[in-house]
């Protein structure tokens, strides 16, 4: 019987020939990640267990990105716990404010996560790295603590769902729309405990940044991981970037899937997820007249250079609507510099946008763009739960960078078609 790409990676890291869904296995972890919210608890557990040294100082990554640059005294204390631990353990992949970026944009960019890896992160969006053809999933702080001690973790081998994207992507429709549409179709627990494997001719030509966006939001359907088999696009991204040699896996032709779901992309419109679930999606033309107070372009979902380019293409020569705040957050320092050098900052500044240093910030209601009661934000982020960006009486709408830019200009949820 054939195996899926996820099963092959898990089998390799468990040191066995094959694995089957439902089996509980112990696997070697290539990278274990924590941030300023989750790592402090992991570090406390690590110390409480009496551990002295992490299993490998080159394979632990600590990124203070959520409430950093420190938003308040308590957050400063949390970040200090990471910094002190990084110093004590000589952690190679610690990123101070100034080198820090949003973790799931930063780690691939810096070549720290590699195709063929098993990666766990105490952050639910760790599933992002599946875009590289790695098995990557979010866990909690205690799981991170255990992995920092042993270099291993346990998994129940997930069943795999295969998503086949066919047809041709219409103008203005990108990876964000594909994943929002998919979550809308299967629901926020439609892939619960399972692996989401994204395939098909549309994926075959989908740029790397869009692939990261898709894998990033697998968790929003309850998925254990999202994964795309490496191809020429992956290899072009990986070449010369990775710190360790990549290993490329692919699913067997006779691999077993619990579901195969085909999505014809030719007639898709840009999508908007309405409050308060990512699955509450509709086509942008059907959004109706929804006035927006704040637009956020950034996050581990959509803060990469191509996201900023797409937003800038819509915003060029335009002004942000009166009384609307547009906040642009490049996800890493490298993206920040690149956007500046490409002239994207001029377009944002001319439009009346605020540009922030990299941070998760408003995505999880941390800082740099919190909503008052009754306010609405349209964001390129990943969650629109009650209170996600501030007041429990505020609302978040999720969409692509192009829709976000159009909305910023119009002041109501708008299609890029209406602006460009």
């Amino acid at each position: 019987m054939g195996m899926t790409i996820s099963e092959k990676i898990l089998a390799k890291h468990a040191g066995v020939e094959g694995v089957e869904p439902g089996e509980i296995i112990s696997v070697k972890v290539d990278i274990a990640l924590g941030n300023d919210i989750t790592a402090p608890i992991a570090i406390k557990e690590f110390k409480r267990a009496g551990a002295k040294k992490v299993f490998d100082k080159g394979r632990v990554a600590l990124v203070p990105d959520h409430f950093a640059p420190n938003k308040d005294i308590a957050s400063a204390e949390q970040c200090k716990i990471l910094r002190d631990f990084a110093k004590e353990q000589d952690i190679e992949n610690y990123f101070e404010t100034g080198e820090m970026g949003v973790e799931h944009a930063l780690l691939p960019e810096q070549g720290i996560v590699t195709p063929g890896d098993v990666i766990i992160g105490a952050d639910s969006h760790t599933c992002t790295y599946g875009a590289l053809g790695a098995f990557s999933t979010g866990v909690g702080s205690t799981d991170l603590a255990a992995a920092m001690v042993t270099g291993e973790t346990w998994f129940k081998v997930p069943e795999s769902m295969k998503f086949v994207y066919t047809g041709k992507l219409p103008k203005w429709v990108d990876g964000k729309d594909l994943i929002l549409y998919t979550i809308g179709k299967i629901g926020v627990d439609g892939a619960l405990y399972r692996s989401m494997e994204f395939t098909g001719p549309v994926i075959d030509s989908l740029p790397m940044d869009d692939r990261f966006t898709m894998a990033n939001m697998a968790i929003e359907a309850g998925g254990k991981n999202g994964i795309i088999a490496p191809d020429a696009i992956t290899k072009a991204y990986v070449e010369g970037r990775m710190k360790r040699p990549p290993v490329y896996y692919a699913s067997d032709a006779d691999a077993v899937y619990s579901d195969v779901i085909e999505i014809d992309c030719s007639k898709l419109s840009p999508q908007v997820a309405f409050p308060h679930l990512p699955s509450n999606t509709r086509a942008v033309e059907e959004a109706g007249n929804v006035a927006i107070d704040q637009v956020v372009i950034g996050s581990c979902t959509n803060g990469r250079i191509s996201d900023l380019r797409k937003a800038a293409a819509v915003l060029k020569g335009k002004k942000v609507a009166k009384y609307l705040r547009l906040i642009v957050i490049p996800a890493t320092q490298q993206i920040y510099r690149q956007a500046m050098e490409e002239g994207l900052f001029d377009i944002f500044l001319d439009a009346g946008a605020a540009i922030s240093t990299p941070t998760c910030g408003p995505c999880l209601g941390g800082h740099t763009g919190i909503l008052a009661a009754g306010e609405r934000s349209l964001a390129t982020t990943n969650r629109n739960f009650v209170g996600r960006m501030g007041s429990p009486d505020s609302e978040v709408y999720l969409a692509s960078p192009a829709v976000a830019a159009a909305t910023a200009v119009k002041g109501v949820i708008a299609s890029p078609e209406e602006v460009a």
Binding site: A49, A122, T126, G140, A145, V188, G366, G387, P392
Partner: protein, 163 residues
């Protein structure tokens, strides 16, 4: 394992932002987190709940963020256990890892009302609704998870068993 308490009902897809909003994540202190338990799902919850009470929810409880602060805040609020039709996977892992008992039951949510007193008898795989005098099955805890509980959580488990 047996837990008896009053039921507090919550709907489907209760996310971890509702269980413990991110605005309180600048600490991991259980007592602090307990003060805001379930705040964005029911702001009055912490004032109403008594030690030993049970949260009973529809499907996909704990979806969203990986924050272990969510089960920490529930445990901190002295809720004895959570019963739901299903759990999101990271919340499920976290609960076993840090010692919050959780149980899956298809029937309990549909057959219990808020305020009912129920007994979760994990050893015999039964939930008894004492108020209504009815009982139904609870899914058994998988053997590996049972081992985690017996060992006292994940960290104790790896200390005890090497890896």
């Amino acid at each position: 394992m047996k837990f008896t308490g009053k039921v507090w009902k919550f709907g489907a897809d209760i996310d971890t932002d509702a269980i413990i909003p991110a605005r309180y994540l600048n600490t991991s202190d259980p007592e602090e987190l307990a003060k805001h338990c379930m705040e964005d799902a029911d702001p009055e919850f912490v004032n109403k709940v008594s030690p030993g009470d049970i949260i009973l929810a529809d499907k996909n409880f704990g979806c969203g963020s990986s924050r272990e602060h969510a089960p920490i805040s529930i445990k901190g609020a002295k809720v004895s256990c959570v019963v739901a039709k299903s759990f999101a996977r990271i919340f499920y892992r976290n609960s076993f890892n840090m010692g919050l008992p959780i149980f899956e039951s298809e029937e309990a949510y549909d057959k219990c009302d808020e305020g009912d007193v129920i007994e979760v008898d994990a050893d015999n795989g039964v939930i008894r609704n004492i108020t209504k005098g009815i009982e139904f099955n609870v899914a058994p805890i998988p053997p590996f998870m049972q081992q985690l509980i017996e060992d006292g959580g994940l960290m104790a488990h790896i200390e005890k068993r090497g890896k």
